[in-house]
Each structure stands twice: as C-alpha cells, then as structure tokens.
Amino acid sequence: MSNYSELIKMCSQVRRDIVRMVHGCQSGHPGGSLGCVEFFVALFFSIMKHEPDFKMNGRNEDIFFLSNGHISPVYYSVLSRSGYFPLNELNTFRKINSRLQGHPATHENLPGIRIASGSLGQALSVAIGSAISKRLNNEKNTVFCLCGDGELQEGQIWEAVMYAGAKKVDNLILTIDVNRQQICGSTDEILDLGDLQKKFSAFQWKVIKVKNGNKIEEVIEKLKLSKLKSSKGHPICLLLNTEMGYGVDFMMGSHKWHGIAPNDEQLKIALNQLEETIGDY
C-alpha cells in the first residue's frame, strides 16, 4: 500500500477497530492506541519488509517490538489487517480463550507477536538483542521498537539506551510516542521527561523529530529518513509527537482516555467521527 489516500483510509478503519474492540470488552487503552495509528499504519503498510505468514525468527525480515503493550488494540488491528490473523478475531479482544490478550503475548501463539509486553520498559532491551542477533546472522534488516514517553520513567530503558549508544547498535530504530500524557496526568506533572532530544543525543543516539505524528505523510517521510540514517554507527531515536485519543474529539487532549472504554452512546459518537472505509470486522 503506497499512496497516501489509501493509507489515510486504513487509518480511519483502524481507529474504528480500536474503539469497537475496547467497547466490546469494556476495557483496554484507547487513548495511546488512537494516537499511534499513523505510526503503525506507516510501519506495517509502507516501511517494514515483513511477512504475515508468521515465523518467530523473522529471518530476513524487519522486526517490530511494542514496549508499551497496553496499546495492543492498534497493534492487533494493524496485524490483522496486514493478514497475520483473521479479522473476526478482533472480536475476541480481552475475552476468555482469546489469543488477543489484554497485553500482547506469545503464550497463545498469536501470529505477529514475538515478545510479551505490558510491564513497561522491557522491549527496548529485547529489540537490542534481536538487532544484535540479526548482525550475527549477517541479516541487513532493521529492528523497530515503540515506547511510550511515560515509559521512559522506567530505569531499564536507560540501561538499554546507554548500551545501544555505546555499543553502536545501529540497525535499531526506536520511536518514542511523545503524547505527554500518562495515567495520572501529564508527563510534565507526574515526572518531567526534560529535553528528550538532548538526552538521547548525550547517549550517542541520532535523534529525528516528527512534528506531527498524526500526519501520515510526515510519519512516512521521517521513518524513511530514519532508515537512511541507520547502519551508520548510531541507533536512531524518532521522537513522534502525537495526540492521545486522536480522531475522536472527546478523547483528545487529556489523559482521561488512557485506559477506559467508551459506553454505547460514546461509541456511537466516536464512530460517527470515523469513516468506515474498508469495512468493519
């Protein structure tokens, strides 16, 4: 999928999936999921070389790791719409006997998932390991990882950031979802993240900023730039400015929709704002 109008249609459909999935089980995390739609659609439908006929080892593929596992709705929607598993399985999200666990897991063998995440701060280390493994196997592919900005408060992140910079793990592109919100409030209020560009630069990373992470054209452009700048001795950090809840007016601009589900009426309002483009699951 290469043209922007198709990708924009996909974004609208993925947003419908997210609110419907979260509504369907009356739990989950719509805010961060909605904010990261353009990033996921860009990655899976434009940037990554990947094979929906899933193999755990991902040999000769680009590999993606989600560290902030609570935004599983957007991940599951995009995996399913890429062909990793049947669309109707989105109905089972967070329900008993489902492969679509609340937070992504390998335990139920859901195609597309290579590591469990949910307890925050862990998948960047995993991504580094995967990137090193690719180098040892002489694979030229890139490893991608997404972290939330609030997640940067976890100590393990900085162990991993220090390692990747110092050891020049340069087949690695980390995206930070900078929505400046976390469960209890804004990141500024809870624990100020400071100047992320300076911090990552100080740890020997190459930093690229995306001013509007909810604009698919810019996301694709900067992801392409990131790939261009990779394999040059530095890991890449993409600071992706997004708006939590993007696309649903009453979910935007606040931390309140981080982890709650819409009721029937709210779902109706949300779906009225999101065009059904490809077809609901």
């Binding site: 755990m56 080892n57 991902g58 040999r59 590999i63 790791f65 897991a105 390998t106 335990h107 290579r114 590591i115 469990a116 995440s117 949910g118 307890s119 701060g121 862990q122 998948a123 960047l124 280390s125 995993v126 991504a127 580094i128 390991g129 995967s130 990137a131 090193i132 493994s133 690719k134 040892l136 196997n137 694979e139 100590g155 393990q156 162990e159 991993a160 220090m162 390692y163």
Partner: protein, 315 residues
C-alpha cells in the same frame, strides 16, 4: 583411597560454557561485569564475537538475551544469583518465562557460602522464585563435574533454565558423565531414612550418612540436582522404602526443595520430613564453613535432623 580434589562449581560452569561454545555456534554469552567471578573468561577469549559485556545492567541483560533467542541464538547470562533472580524477576517473568524464550540464566555465588560479602549478596530465595515461574527448569548442581555437565546439557534443551552454582571450592566427587535434566542420582542406599540434598549440601549429606552409619542408621542419599521438574519416581521409590526423609539445601526452607518434596509426598505417600535449610532469616559475613555451622546447614545438622525424623516414623 583417592584424594578428592576441591574445585568450585563456578569453574565447572566456565569449563562447560567453553565446551558448548565449541559444540554450538549459536551459543552466545552475556555478562554483567562479573566475567572473572563467573569464570567466563575462557569463552570470551575463544569466542570474542559471541561474548557480550553488558555492563552493570542486569535487567537490560535479561531483555537482550530474550531478544537474541528470536534470531536463533542460545544466550547464557552470567552474574551472581542475587542479580540473576531477585533483581530482575519481572524481566525474567515477562520477557523470558511467559514469552518462552530459550535463555539459560546462569547464576553463581548462590546461597550463604558466598561468605564474606554478607547478606546483601547471599540470596537464599532464588530457588523458590525461579521454580514458581511456569515452564522454568531449575538446576542446582553439587560439584564441578556436575556443573560442567549440566551446562552442556542445558544447551541442548530448548526453553528457559535457571542454573544455580556457587563460589567456594568444594569436593569434586561425582562422575564426569552426561547430565540428564530431571533425573536425581542415588549416591548411597539405605533402609532407615531418605536424605534428599541439593547443591553444596549433597557432600554434607554424604558425610552425615557416614556418621549415621556409626549409629546403625542406614541412609538412602539422593542428589536432587534438578529441582524442577522433580524426579518424582526416584523420590517416591525411596520414601516408600524408608518411610521418612530429610531434605537438605542451602536455601530458605520456605519455598525451597523441601517444599517441593513435601508437596509431592503429601499427595502420593505421606511421611514425616525434617528440613535442613535456612530458617526464615538473612545470612551474614563470615567464612563459608563457619556460616554453614551457625545457620545449621552442615553435616551435623543433617545428622541431628535424621535422628529426629526417624523417631517420628510410624512403627
């Protein structure tokens, strides 16, 4: 009689690691700034491209190891037992155990015989922590030979493993033979009591059994190296014969091997059991032998536990 050589179990790990490095090119080793203590130097020297110095960052080490398995690598992580388990429990739980990754968590300086460094480093809860994780294999070898051969055996097994060994030099008395995961080893046969021991306490159990022979008490001494999965058949066969048991381990009684054996026997063949282990306390600085005596996990403590448990037997 041939003199028994004293060797540290961690050197057995180092020798085993070098061996698996030669056998399997997918084996990689990661260390959190304790290469010398873990005896990983020989592997580092021989296979520099497959050795990863992570720095003092154990959580990151566990995550990197988990990620490496995805590309088909077999990572052996090396640090002290305290930093291999308690410090990184959530990383092991989520990124390794729950994700079913083929990581070998190799942990030295386990237990109170770490000695002079004191309680901050003497983890006595690690077996309990690790055996509770679904899918985790837990192995606690008793000497150099067993540690070396267990290291080789786990490289051929697919799945997460916790391999626990120690710091001091102890008698290297077992045969240099292939290690079979999940199989206990009968070291002596007796009729009056079963002594199930693990790790450094296996030698103490053998010494205790010699002393007990002088009191006409004959002991079935069994080396339980794999704590999970437990060799149920061997344990039950023994207790059906002896009708009582002592379990000896360098670990908290609460949550250790003794609990696993008590759980098994309570279901299949209830018998009286006495427990030789650390009784709900932290350790302290001191030399290993002094500490084993003070904390009642030496051969004399096993002798005394056996005498008491035999009295509890139904006639």
């Amino acid at each position: 009689m041939k003199k028994i050589e004293l060797k540290d179990t961690r050197s057995g790990f180092g020798a085993g690691l070098l061996e698996v490095g030669k056998i399997n090119k997918n084996v990689v080793a990661l260390c959190a700034d304790l290469t010398g203590s873990l005896k990983m130097d020989a592997f580092e020297k021989k296979f520099p491209k497959r050795f990863f110095q992570i720095g003092i960052a154990e959580a990151n080490m566990m995550g990197i190891a988990a990620g490496m398995t995805i590309g088909g690598k077999i990572p052996f992580t090396g640090t002290f037992a305290n930093f291999s388990t308690g410090r990184v429990y959530d990383q092991i739980r989520q990124s390794i155990a729950y994700s079913a990754k083929n990581v070998k968590i190799c942990a030295s300086h386990a237990g109170i015989t770490l000695g002079e460094d004191g309680a901050t480093h003497q983890i006595l809860e690690d077996i309990g922590l690790m055996k509770m994780l679904p899918g985790m294999v837990v192995i606690n070898p008793c000497d150099y030979n067993q540690t070396k051969n267990a290291t080789i055996a786990i490289s051929k097994y697919f799945g997460p493993v916790y391999l626990r060994f120690g710091r001091p030099k102890v008698p290297n008395f077992t045969k240099d033979e292939e290690f079979v995961i999940g199989k206990g080893i009968q070291l002596s046969k007796g009729l009056d009591v079963s002594i199930f021991a693990t790790g450094h306490l296996v030698w103490e159990a053998l010494e205790a059994s010699k002393k007990l022979n002088e009191y006409n008490i004959s002991c079935d001494v069994i080396n339980i190296t794999t704590i999970k999965p437990l060799d149920n058949d061997l344990i039950l066969k023994s207790v059906k014969k002896t009708k009582c048991a002592v379990v000896a381990e360098e670990h908290q009684i609460l949550g250790g091997l003794g609990c696993s054996i008590a759980q098994l026997t309570s279901q299949k063949f209830p018998i009286p059991i006495n427990f030789v282990g650390i009784n709900d306390s932290f350790g302290e600085s001191g030399n290993p032998m002094e500490l084993m005596k003070k904390y009642k996990i030496d051969k004399n403590s096993i002798v005394s536990a056996v005498k008491k448990v035999i009295k509890k037997k139904a006639n």
